[in-house]
Amino acid sequence: MSRVMAGAALGKGRRGSFLDRYYDLPLILVFVAMVGTISFFHPAFLNRYSLISTGTEAAYFGTMALGMVFLLSMREIDLSVGSIFGLTIIVVAHLIETGVQPWVAAAVGVVVGPALGAVNGLITNALRIQTIIVTLGTLSIYRSFALIISKDMVLEHNLPIQDSYFQVLGGQWFGVPVSIWMFVVLAAILHVVYRYTRFGFDVRAIGSNPEAARLAGISIPRMRLTALMLQGLLCSVVGVVAFAYLEAGDPVTGTGFELSVIAAAIIGGTALSGGHGSVFGALIGALIIAVITTGLIQFGVTQDWALFATGAAIVGAVALDAFLKRRRLLAAEKLGVTAAAPPRASQATGADEDAPVTRDGVGTGNRP
């Protein structure tokens, strides 16, 4: 469950131990080992085309996973990510088809996500039910909007492909697709937001102990709304960039994305139970999933088995995390920093040695 804190326990100094500071290291090693193994047997995996297609695949759901790190860290989840992504594409495609200037349509598209995220948040806050239930519903609702707007057809006609929107966002900068730039830049920004802003601190506080966070004056409904809007924003940014590349608006684009998005965050070391996570880890997690799915195809493995491998990677990552955590706990105990029993555990016994009154049991029958 917890890489970060177990590592910190070993830290003698103020800035923590090596493992505390580089808690994503095991994950990076796994990733490097995977790439190394695949390219050893199939050197073609390392060619430019292969790397770019792997990176682009990771960029789409990986960018959404960056937002999921915040949500999972505060014990929330958003299942509607794939539908927000798909609906954004359809909204942008539809507007452009009806003659709206592509950049204007893109700007509208970027607003779609935060709006849909706000709907998720407002429903959750108003009805006081879990986001997993609300977003399970909006997963279908938002998808139905995409199907209704597109009349269940792929929107690919009358698109001004020569427009700078398609050329710039769908193209490459310095030989690297814009989607990959987007992924890396947003990961860097959100990593800082997660680790070094009040927002990131409060997200972790809520996930660790909601009651404590509330008593400290952190508004959970407001934080939830903000995080869901951030998640929506990321989905629609990906949608706008993806549509520029795809040049076709398929209303079922992004179906099932929520699983890859959540998987990337979890492989990256973010706990479903909340309290801690890693944005950088989610980036590596998304790359690992993309390498599995594209890499295994190099071995002639079919899609079905690639899916199997993705599932195995999730279980493996969580197992590795749990193993490392236990080892660090043991190491922490050796250092004499032992975890105490929870304070309440001992309350029933031995707490009253100084209070003969209660020990005698006097008055126990008097309790109204």
Partner: protein, 269 residues
């Protein structure tokens, strides 16, 4: 020994004789059960008041009314001599009344410094000043005489006493005028209790008044200036710690005030 009515005093005056918090004739029932049967209670600036009584005597109910977590059926609450109506704990916090509940409000996954600054980490240009935060926490813990191995340690690894000390230090750092501690030493060993009691004395030295709810009478006698004893929703004694003894306090705690008893409320000689 109900204090004289102080309605004639100017509100907000810093005279030590004006109670920060005053409760008059407070009653509270839960269904058919009368938890509080007309209680007068006073906290003056800079004093440590012990609140003792058997289980069900009404200690926690009384304090929940003080912080606005419960509202009284009858009676009034005065802060600085003027009437207030607290509907939740935010209201009372604004007036400088802070309560630390038995179940500690700490985030296990987060480190000591982050817990200390929960929801109020110091920032600059939107970024949390992590180093400064750790430095500030080290300084403040030192001032209160709390020794922790490092402020980068997640609180999961702290002992019960260290957690309790951290929670109290955090509450004290909010500079409340009254800090209410509900059984702060109940779950602690002797050594750890001693550290917490020292901490309470240090908090008091910062001119923060403390209400100390406890079953452990030795702790209460050690740390409190004044001890209020409740018995089944009534105040049966209001004693100066210096003038009383463990035996006397016990007598008040266990004796039915309606039966033969020493004159209730009289400070012992």
């Amino acid at each position: 020994m109900t204090p004289p009515p102080s309605a004639h005093l100017r509100p907000g005056a810093s005279d030590a004789s004006i109670p920060i918090v005053e409760l008059r004739g407070v009653t509270k029932s839960f269904g058919a059960v009368a938890a509080l049967k007309g209680i007068d209670f006073v906290v003056r600036p800079g004093e440590v008041v012990g609140l003792v009584g058997d289980n069900g005597a009404g200690k926690s109910t009384l304090m929940k009314i003080v912080v606005g977590a419960l509202s009284p059926d009858e009676g009034e609450i005065l802060v600085d001599g003027s009437r207030v109506h607290f509907t939740n704990t935010k209201d009372s916090r604004k007036r400088g009344i802070e309560m630390l509940f038995q179940d500690l409000a700490l985030c296990d996954d987060l480190d000591v410094a982050v817990n200390f600054f929960l929801g109020r980490a110091p920032t600059q240009f939107g970024l949390v000043r992590v180093r400064r935060m750790h430095a500030l926490v080290r300084k403040q813990l030192e001032e209160l005489g709390i020794r922790l191995p490092t402020t980068t340690l997640p609180v999961r690894f702290l002992s019960g006493g260290q957690r309790q000390s951290l929670a109290i230090a955090r509450a004290a750092s909010l500079k409340p005028r009254v800090l209410i501690l509900d059984e702060p030493t109940a779950a602690l060993g002797v050594q750890q209790s001693r550290a917490v009691l020292e901490l309470v004395k240090n908090v008091r030295a910062t001119r923060t008044a403390v209400v100390f709810i406890s079953h452990r009478l030795r702790d209460v006698l050690d740390v409190c200036d004044r001890i209020v004893v409740l018995y089944e929703g009534r105040q049966v004694a209001n004693l100066r710690s210096a003038d009383t003894s463990l035996e006397e306090v016990v007598t008040y705690i266990v004796s039915d005030p309606d039966a033969a008893r020493p004159a209730a409320g009289a400070a012992s000689e």
